[in-house]
Symmetry: C2
Subunit: 276 residues, 2 copies
């Protein structure tokens, strides 16, 4: 079984001379190798759990698969990796692609090639070329009060967070604030992949009319993943980067930042906010 937290000893010190030793729960981080047709594709450091969704969501974000018909099977390979004691681990998954699906090159981590230039514009163009979805056509309307309440609703659902303080979260909501899926991980990008992979297996892609709420900041990578999943709204608790805002604008996506209870800021796509 996959464990999301592990008990480890910790010594606490205070400037007042306080010192104690006890057990503390830490978020588990372990490597996950994602294979395609049994061949290594990439390795990510993740919190175990929902590994198949993570693999499928990653492949959605990379533009390898779009819907369930592109995948024959996704499964753990317990015999592919053993721990120090010789026991099988859950750290290798393989996704077998359907015939006709174009197999990507392995270790394709390079965002842009020198050939097309290395700059923000070229990075945006690379995602635009790959995404099958035109978000500008998604005319979902968003209520200010509903949006403002999403971070609190996500935190309430984050039982694990209370135990470790070390996990990022991503949550998928309907436009009227119904929570559909919540996933956690030491890596924010993994949490988003897990949500996208869940939606993929449910046949819910593209995520028309949905809102993806994430803890922390919004980077270029997260906007890319939301776009590749066809989600018209990405909301972050903290700040977006400049390139995240630029990519959201190019995508026709609504990008929300600094969403903290009573107020939030909109960096692109404000026309979807009702009364805005």
């Amino acid at each position: 079984m996959a464990h999301t937290t592990a008990r480890q000893p910790v010594t606490r010190f205070g400037v007042d001379g306080h010192q104690d030793r006890r057990a503390d729960s830490l978020a588990v981080e372990e490597p996950l190798e994602i294979q395609i047709d049994g061949e290594p594709f990439t390795v990510t450091m993740r919190t175990p759990g929902h590994d198949l969704d993570l693999a499928l969501g990653f492949l959605v974000a990379e533009g390898v698969v779009r819907g369930p018909e592109d995948v024959v099977s996704a499964r753990h390979c317990p015999d592919a990796a053993r721990d120090a004691d010789g026991n099988p681990t859950h750290n290798v998954v393989t996704v077998d692609l359907a015939p006709g699906v174009v197999r990507p090159e392995p270790a394709r981590h390079r965002l842009v090639s020198s050939a097309c230039g290395v700059c923000g514009t070229a990075s945006i163009d690379a995602v635009a070329t790959r995404s099958p979805y035109v978000l500008a056509l998604d005319q979902v309307g968003l209520d200010v009060g509903t949006l403002a309440g999403l971070p609190a609703r996500m935190r309430t659902a984050q039982a694990v967070f209370e135990r470790t303080g070390g996990l990022h979260a991503a949550a998928l909501f309907t436009a009227d604030g119904q929570l559909l899926c919540l996933r956690e991980d030491v890596g924010r990008h993994n949490a988003v992949d897990k949500v996208a992979g869940w939606a993929f297996t449910q046949g819910r892609l593209p995520l028309r009319g949905h809102v993806l709420q994430v803890s922390g900041r919004a980077s270029f990578e997260l906007v890319q993943k939301a776009w590749m999943a066809g989600c018209p709204v990405l909301a972050a608790v903290s700040a977006p980067s400049s390139l995240a805002a630029d990519l959201a604008a190019a995508a026709g996506m609504t990008l929300i930042g600094f969403s903290r209870g009573e107020r939030f800021s909109v960096y692109a796509g404000a026309e979807r906010i009702l009364g805005g």
Copy 2:
């Protein structure tokens, strides 16, 4: 010139019906291609500034270089990438290695190979094999009050943070709390690479007797980077992961988490804390 922040329009909404539109400063995120001997090695999304230090620090963490004698030159390649208007960018750097330095394979992002197993233990062994430094020999003593004060000292020095709220920071301190180098980035790993690269160019590696303080959480990757730079103490404002704690223990590193003013927690190497 590299800009770390960019002004972009933002619309703010409040649940009380408040709405205004103004310009906001966002942290800049742009791709940086790192070349070795003019050949593409990797691309990272980073905040511009200290790009050469970032490249060199990344190569230290990857075990490619150890000291200035391993590098002939590190420089921007302004003609290698142009923006949409045809102007040169600062998004490509090349590091020319000295004769005899082993050139790594490009795009080497895989942390472990299937051959050695995909699990936490194998990940730790992979770093242990690569690191040239035995941190257990570093007998620096650390004062509780000094350690507890480092996050505040780092934040005070983070002028950019006040403007964007979107940047991570890494700061190098002496054991008695003197700030030597502070770097910021949208990616915590990049901020650490920039600090390690600065130390590399100063001939300060390994970072014996130093403390590396980072904002946010401590992942396996950050402990790896600290170990590869020979730094015996890594302190994070938030939680470490389980594998970060395991790697620190294996390295003989002191790993501090939840460092928030009056108290902090020690997950490995507590014997360096004076009075502990």
